[in-house]
Symmetry: C2
Subunit: 400 residues, 2 copies
Amino acid sequence: MISNKMKKLIEGSSMIRAMFQEGKIMKQRLGEQNVFDYSLGNPSIVPPKSVKEAILDIVENESEMELHGYMNNGGYEDVREIVAQSINKKHQTDLKGKNIIMTVGAAGGLNIALKAVLNPGDEVIVIAPFFGEYTSYISNYDGVMVVVSPNYENFGINLDELESKITAKTKAVIINSPNNPSGAVYSESDIISLSEILSKKQEQYNSIIYIISDEPYREIIFGGAKVPYLTKYYKNTIVGYSFSKTLSLPGERIGYLAVSSEADGFDELIGALEVANRILGFVNAPSLMQKVVSKCIDDTSDLAVYEENKNILYNALTKYGYNCVEPKGTFYMLPKCFIDDDKKFCDDAKEFGLVIVPGSAFCCPGYFRIAYCVDKQTVINSLESFRKLAQKYGINPIEE
Amino acid sequence: MISNKMKKLIEGSSMIRAMFQEGKIMKQRLGEQNVFDYSLGNPSIVPPKSVKEAILDIVENESEMELHGYMNNGGYEDVREIVAQSINKKHQTDLKGKNIIMTVGAAGGLNIALKAVLNPGDEVIVIAPFFGEYTSYISNYDGVMVVVSPNYENFGINLDELESKITAKTKAVIINSPNNPSGAVYSESDIISLSEILSKKQEQYNSIIYIISDEPYREIIFGGAKVPYLTKYYKNTIVGYSFSKTLSLPGERIGYLAVSSEADGFDELIGALEVANRILGFVNAPSLMQKVVSKCIDDTSDLAVYEENKNILYNALTKYGYNCVEPKGTFYMLPKCFIDDDKKFCDDAKEFGLVIVPGSAFCCPGYFRIAYCVDKQTVINSLESFRKLAQKYGINPIEE
């Protein structure tokens, strides 16, 4: 009945969603308060007040025909301009409205970017650990995924390995910093090196290699970490952003792509992104939400909550003997399991009410992801379970 | 830089959008009141009051976390149930929430349906005249489009030709009734015959052939025309609906797919549609708008306006000597040009301020589409231009 590709996808369907379903069943069995569901990256904090105010204001005062009607496939001109100015202010870039394409979230943005640039058989490099959906996005356009193995020291980029994997067929490198699932932020020196490698390889192969920078967690950073703005380092960058995490609006499907005018073949690329938006069936980003985010462009939910959760968890877990790279952003961390088999480890964790996701889902077996976008009390209540899980493997808390 | 497929698409990009751009330039040159822009299918009437009321009520009273958060990729359970009940009431079907997948408009719905069922090389039959975007949607999944030529008599289905074009590789037939661009509504007898042909061919080839029924214009019908509900005639039907036209919300990207539980491999098909929604980057239909349409499910904009426009235009054009099948629905009609070259004809029309789209854009050369979703006065003011256009070709008004 259904396509062969789809059959495989359904069988191996999202491990994250599977753990989430499992968590719901566990809650019925063990009681809500005894289950600590760290499976989904669903924001746990309310949108800023300005979101509600913007919706009410726009719906009360703007023309309904304009508000709910078709516009250019790239988005409302005024919204694109506001987004560009906001990026310029934050990152000293020189973007204009024409550099922005409004998209159906970051997932929609990544799909139109890949649709726009990939020929069948083109290679796309991803850096482990990475968000498992990239596999499907690349496969949608018959691209070939090439994985750079994890840098276990700090979850940065294994630059030598990346360089060795670039071929004449390499069309794009997807990066995601702050990173889901590790919480790592790639350092400026990694970004500079990456840019130099790609520039050299473009020249060597007389090719264009895009960086597709997936940045839904850009604003969720800890301890003042700096996240370099990629177009300033490498002109052939397509930045993908989503308001899902920053404004706690994941269900609304609103984000954008930003491309510098310096990018090779800029006009053609923007044209291709607009056409891809149309023919993949997005047509345009949801119209009311375009206007809403343009009115809340510099606001965020109370993101400090995530840093607080990170501190509580990181401090406790390292004390209990877990080996973990300290996250610099996002609401994820990726500690090491005490055994190689991460699926068994996550199964064992259920005994203590912990719902966590195997690192295999992110091409990083032997690790597990904690999505700590939950309320603080849940984090505190869960600590004892993490301690017991460690003890199950004979690991005892480190003496202070 | 960009993919080869995309290069071709940009070159031959939407003829409709091109005419629309042309119309804007003409308005600058000739003055707004002298240009009659019949190019775009953008609703010309405001949404019903209930849309605004629903948005305000939901935003004031519902939990923000629930309202803007992730839900099942198929949509909110309660919204799916309300959609199913509304269809049941109107069409005496027996659908439940599980039979409905909320989508990013009908375009998003068609894309996930094709993604779910097509293997590369599978054939998809379309019936001319048809919405040109189907070509891209089918190509997105490496399907092969097979065109059934127009039935010029009434723009119904050439059933014998359709039957002769079904092969072992036929995976789907896309139908669109009420039809863009002709305004035709396929008769119940055509639907019965189509169902019989497909059932016979499924048996002959031991295959599954889906009808994908694209129905954004279902509620815009004239003179009480009946539009058969396809799942009642043929179980392997995927119905695609959009609220864009009925509620005048095209920019919001909200629609659904409906599949009967009787469909072969129903569970697998629904699973594939949900996964396709996720991996193509839609993830889910915009959350607030899902809730809004569920509260306005049986409302419509003041659709009678379109029938009034149709009557004025149809009566005048036939009097002026145009040959035209009278539309039974939508806000389109597809008269015959007075010359074979429809592109030249539409170019000539510009002289009189008329912006119309060549039938070639709909696989129906020699005809032209009028999208009469404009205000009534524009229609009245444009009549003289249509008369002059006919006279340019030596056609004089028919004496009463």
